[in-house]
Structure formats: C-alpha cells, structure tokens
C-alpha cells in the first residue's frame, strides 16, 4: 500500500515533455516523421509511443535518453499517425498530450539546397554567356601560364634527342575531375608529339583510365595523320598499389630516360619520389595538380608547376579554342563574385549580423 502511495506521489511529481511537435521530415525520400519536444526536468529518458490510424492503441517505438529532444521515426508513407512522448523516471512516468495526425511522403525538391541551385544557375549562366561571346568572335585575354608555354619546348627537346615523353595522368580514378582534366591535356600533348613522331609513354595505375588513355593517344595520332606513331604497348597498366606503381615509373625514368616528364592529375605522397627521380635523370619536368599538399614538392623538384585551377585551364590554354577560353573567363568572373561575397560576409559578421551566413547553410 505504501509503495502504491509513493509511486502515485512520484507520478504526480513528474512533468511530461512540453511543446511536442510532429511533422513529415523535410527534404527526405519519405518514410520518416520527425518529433521534437521541450525536455522535462524530471526525465531520465523518454519513451516514444505511436498509434497508426485507424488503430486506437499506442505502442512503444523506442526509448531515448534525457538529453534527446528530437526523434526521427521510420514509418510507412501515406499512413496517418499520432504520437505520445512519455517522460520516464524509474517506474514513474508522465505522458504528453497526443499529437495531431501526421503522415509522411517523399519530397520532390530539397529546399535546403536552394542556395546551391542558385549558385549553380548563376555560375552556369556566366559560363554559357562567355562561351556565347567567345563563339561570336569576342577576343578574350588569358594570362600567360609559363608551364603550358613550355609544353612545346619539352616535346621539341624530346624530338631532338630522339627520346620519349613520359606522361603520368595522376593516380586517381576516372571520376576524379583532376584525372579528366589531365586526360584532356594528354589529348593535346599526344597530338603535338604525334606530329613530330615522338613516343608518348603512359603508365597507368587505374585500370579504367588506361583504355581511355589508349583511345586518346590513338585518336590523336590518327587526327594528325600519323597512325604509325601509335604504339599500344606504350600505354599500359602497372598496378593499383601506390608505391608499386611509383617504383615501376621510377624504373621507367631511369631505364628509358625520357626527355620530358609530365605529372598532371591527382597525386599523393609519391609526388616527390617521382619528381626527384625525374630531376635526377635531367628531364624537363612539368607538373600540375589540385592536391594542394603535393604542390610544394612539385614546385621544388619540377621546372614548371601548374597550381590548382591552372590544371583545369590547361586544355583550353593549349587548344586556344574560343569555347574553352570562354569558360575560363566565366570562372574568373565567378571568382570575383565569390571574393565580393567573402568581403561582404566578413564585414556583416564583424558587425554582428548573422543572416548573411544563413544564406549559405543548408
């Protein structure tokens, strides 16, 4: 009897969670409902109770600790539900009011990504506009990139010496944009080399990149009317092992002594090992990567280094095609806009205004 009285007293002392809200989880594929509440000071934890209509019984779904104020429940789309959040402390408990009816459905637009959509739209519009102007014959100025001006010199040197050119398209996969940029440059370099009848050796670490490289070089040779220059065996797969690959390429550099080494694409810790070995053979070396922490190594050991975005600009720079050059201009203008936004953000946040930051969060 005493226990019952004590329990009743305890029950009376416990307060239920307040301000319980339920809503269909926003920006999701459906199948979930979010419940939020203001915590109760008495809670040791909360039990989530759910009733699927037209049932009339609440069944426990889960238990969460006292610090939790938000719960995402996995449910069936289209079915209506009601919830109760129960404060629990030992064997005592207190229930919240049942929530309104709620049901879940999949969303067709992710509202949290509206800012990304606007950014993509602005950037794409700028790029396409500049491409359009370039197509109509507008002259576009592009600053000098020493590393790319040296490409002709490097290939010429290889031709004079009767030595091959070594091209490393990075160590990453085909889905890495740096690899794609590198493959674009390979097309230009293979074309120039084919004109002079110079061999291009392309050892690969990635088995998907390899056949793409073969196709690029083969097409380049065909395009300039020198199919005889193409040697399929010069473009081969070595191994997926990072340092196994590095050892093999070092071996090629020491045995074949290429007159020019190109390291363009994504590189990791092997960058300096490759570049230093190349430097020791006396080859002219041109590197380019967007892997920032490898840039110091390339700058130290190579003759020319394309820094970050210069790698992406290289194909346009080498081809001088107006369409590609137009996209470079678009990039520059977008950078200017981003610079402006950063300055505006710094000023606004410094003066205590946070709404500007909110524009960029998801």
């Amino acid at each position: 009897m005493t226990t019952i009285v004590l329990l009743t007293l305890l029950y009376l002392q416990i307060s239920p969670p307040k301000d319980v809200r339920v809503f269909d989880t926003p920006n999701d594929a459906g199948g979930s409902i979010t419940i939020t509440w203001e915590s109760s000071p008495d809670a040791e934890g909360y039990r989530i109770l759910r009733m699927a209509l037209p049932d009339s019984v609440y069944t426990p779904v889960d238990w969460v600790d006292a610090a939790t104020k938000r719960y995402v429940d996995k449910v069936e789309d289209g079915v209506k539900y009601r919830y109760i959040i129960r404060t629990e402390r030992g064997s005592a408990y207190a229930d919240s009011e049942p929530t309104d009816e709620v049901w879940s459905h999949g969303n067709v637009f992710h509202r949290g990504r509206t800012n990304v959509l606007i950014g993509v739209a602005v950037y794409t519009t700028l790029l396409l506009s500049f491409i359009y102007f370039a197509k109509r014959g507008k002259k576009l100025f592009v600053r000098k990139i020493a590393g790319l001006d040296a490409v002709d010199e490097a290939i010429g040197r290889a031709t004079e010496m009767g030595k091959p050119v070594l091209y490393i398209p990075g160590l990453s996969t085909i889905s890495d944009v740096a690899t794609l940029a590198s493959l674009n440059i390979l097309g230009r370099i293979a074309r120039k080399a084919a004109v002079h009848g110079t061999r291009v050796i392309v050892p690969n670490r990635n088995p998907i990149v390899m056949p793409v490289c073969q196709e690029i070089v083969r097409e380049a040779c065909l395009d300039v009317g020198r199919p005889d220059v193409y040697r399929e065996d010069d473009i081969f797969y070595i191994t997926f092992s990072q340092f196994g690959y590095t050892a093999a390429v070092d071996g090629i550099m020491l045995r074949e002594k290429p007159a020019a080494n190109f390291f363009l694409g994504m590189f990791w810790a092997e960058s300096l090992i490759l570049a230093e070995t190349g430097a020791s053979t006396g080859a002219i070396q041109i590197a380019g990567t967007d892997a920032i922490h490898q840039l110091p190594f390339f700058i130290t050991a190579c003759d020319y280094t394309l820094i970050g975005e210069e790698l992406y600009a290289a194909s346009a720079y080498l081809s001088r095609e107006p369409l590609s050059l137009g996209s470079l201009k678009g990039q520059d203008w977008t950078k200017l806009i981003i610079g402006g936004l950063i300055v505006a953000g710094v000023i606004l946040v410094s003066f205590g205004s946070d709404w500007f930051l909110g524009l960029f969060s998801s």
């Binding site: 920006n27 594929a29 459906g30 199948g31 999949g106 969303n107 067709v108 637009f109 992710h110 990304v116 993509v120 950037y123 889905s175 944009v177 794609l180 940029a181 493959l183 674009n184 097309g187 690969n204 088995p207 998907i208 390899m210 196709e215 690029i216 083969r218 380049a220 065909l222 065996d233 081969f236 797969y237 070595i238 191994t239 092992s241 196994g244 590095t246 045995r255 810790a269 092997e270 300096l272 090992i273 230093e276 967007d290 840039l295 190594f297 130290t300 050991a301 970050g308 975005e309 992406y312 600009a313 194909s315 081809s319 095609e321 369409l323 590609s324 996209s327 678009g330 990039q331 950078k335």
Partner: protein, 207 residues
C-alpha cells in the same frame, strides 16, 4: 556515331546526376543507388581489364625477349602465385597469404614510402635558400613547423608548437582556401564542359 553516342550518354547522365542531387524523392534515391551499384560493378570488371593488359604487356615482352624480359616472368609468376595461395590457404590472419602480405608486401611498400624522407631532406636543402624576402619567410615557416612537430621544439622554446599550429591554421589555411576556391570552380567548369560536349578530347575528339 562512334563519338556522338558517348557524348549523348555523358550529357544525359551528367544532367541526370545534377538534377538528382536536388530531388530527395525515393525514385531519385533508387536511381542514385542503382548508379552507385553499377559503378562498383564496372570498377570490379575494370580490375579484370587491367590485369588482362598487365599479362598481355608482360607476355609480349617475354615472347619477344625484349630488354629485361626476365622481370616480366617474375611479375606474371608473382601474380599467379598470390592468386593461387589466396584461393588455397584463404586470407585470414596466420595463413601463408597473410604472411606474404606481412613480410613481403608491407616491407616493400614501406621502403618505397620511406624514400620520401630522404628526398624531402635533399629537396629541402636545395630549395630553402633565403634568396628573397618571400623565400626567407617560407624558410622560417618551414623550420618552425619542423621544430613544432617534434618534442625537441617544445624544449627549445615552449611556444614553438603553438606557433607551428598557428602557421598551419592561419596563413597556411588562408592560402589553401584561396586555391581551393579556384580548384572548385575549375572542377565545375571542367565537368560542365564535359557534360555539354565542349571538351571532348578525353574521347579523342577536339582540335
């Protein structure tokens, strides 16, 4: 047609993936999951393709008795041997496969990586000369960082690790962010050019 078809596939898939990013609906997620599964399957097949070319290139070297053909025998022999051992003994701890991994591959790869220490030393010696004000700043930053990353730096002056941390989190980060913004835009621009077919030298096209 040989070029138009890949370009069309690239355009359709590129646009679909961009649109998919903004649609959280189940259909869109299913589509995305299917693409991810396809990618994994294609990747697995590409390993077969890669191994095939590896064997082809080395087999040609052996049959033509090209320079260094003996090494090609080791390459193909090693490949077949590891494959056989893996199938026969399994790949758990304590098996022959794991022993070869631990006592052959691990030391070989670690040796290659360790070359970095030697090359960093020789490159640092060559590159870090106080020729200009900028080069001097770079040199000082490098020395402070090197000291800050070892216990000795703390003994020399207890504030050195803090200064090293400051260099990493302030000037280093500022420069890096500048490059990263450019890289990010370059990536989108390259991707867009590929999707729209403006850049097509990756399939052997372009002038």
């Amino acid at each position: 047609m040989r070029r138009q078809l890949p370009l069309a596939i690239c355009f359709v898939m590129g646009v679909s993936m961009v649109v998919q990013f903004f649609i959280p609906h189940r259909v869109s997620q299913e589509f995305y999951r299917t693409i991810l599964d396809w990618y994994r399957i294609v990747f697995a097949f590409s390993l077969v393709l890669g191994t095939g070319t590896l064997i082809k290139v080395h087999w040609a070297k052996i049959s033509k008795k090209s320079k260094g053909w003996q090494y090609s025998i080791i390459t193909i022999g090693g490949l077949v041997f590891m494959l056989a051992v893996g199938f026969i003994t399994g790949i758990q701890e304590g098996t022959l496969f794991m022993k070869i991994f631990e006592y052959v591959e691990v030391p070989l790869e670690a040796t290659m990586f360790s070359l970095l220490a030697f090359y960093i030393a020789s490159a640092a010696y060559r590159a870090f000369r106080a020729r200009t004000v900028e080069a001097t700043l770079l040199l000082i930053a490098a020395v402070v960082l090197m000291l800050g990353r070892i216990p000795f730096g703390y003994y020399l002056w207890h504030k050195i690790p803090g200064i090293a941390e400051w260099i990493l989190t302030n000037p280093n980060m500022a420069a890096k962010r500048g490059i990263v913004i450019g890289v990010g835009l370059g990536m989108i621009s390259t991707a867009l050019k590929i999707i729209l077919g403006i850049e097509r030298s990756y399939i052997g096209g372009g002038k």
